[in-house]
Amino acid sequence: MEHAIKKSFSLTQIKLLVALGILLLFVIINAPQFTGLAWHEWISFAFVLPFLAHLILSWKWIVSVMTRLFKKLPGDTRFNQIWDTFLFVMMTVVIFSGTIISEKALPALNIHIKIDPFWRSIHTTSANLLMLMFGVHLAMHWKWIVSNFRRYILRQPSAASETS
């Protein structure tokens, strides 16, 4: 029992660290005027790793919610299910379009792709939409982030984190 509690706490801590890492990287990626194109591309490629980790760490939730696609779900869970699906679709579009318009990272790896202005336009539009969707996703999980940040980073005990 004690082992199980210890294990679940460490999983929450990992989830929190990954979530904070994603938040930080997402903000940096979406300030390309500040980082410049080369850093924007390299950081974006690096972002795929925490994004995959986030999916793997939330895998149980994803599977449990997707297997109840046509069953009754609480309102917030249903909203998260639909929103996160669109978020995944948008993330796929942004990653794919961003990869094939790469001007610095891929040529540095000796991969040369002729840049299509269509995909550049798609990348800009979908990235802006993704930011809007990310804001909503962030707000939906803000309580969890704050309570666990207080608990594990600031080391303040809180009642809310006990239940999440």
Binding site: V27, P32, L37, M66, V93, D116, R120
Partner: protein, 96 residues
């Protein structure tokens, strides 16, 4: 073994299939006349992103643009959603 397949491998395959489908749909969309219109418009516009700022005025300008963009596109939707959630929570706790 069956549990691993149903719980992990099958959902991962579905997720990969959906991602591949999106990419395929995108490639198909790139062949349409709509894409040709987008391409023609985008080709005349310069790229929004260039090299990293090297002097103080461009550095400050880049920070200002980034802050405004991040606030408008991430901060605003987050605050609006947060307020809606709070109101829903207050309403449901009031009903109890």
């Amino acid at each position: 073994m069956r549990h691993i397949f149903k719980g992990y491998i099958l959902p991962a395959l579905i997720l990969l299939f959906v991602a591949a489908l999106i990419v395929f749909a995108g490639q198909l969309a790139a062949q349409t006349s709509w894409a040709a219109g987008v391409r023609a418009t985008a080709a005349t516009q310069p790229s929004e992103v260039g090299p990293a700022p090297t002097d103080l005025p461009t550095f400050l300008g880049a920070i200002a643009i980034s802050l405004v963009r991040l606030t408008l596109l991430i901060g605003f939707p987050a605050i609006i959603t947060w307020n809606i959630l709070r109101r829903i929570e207050q309403r449901t706790s009031g009903k109890r």
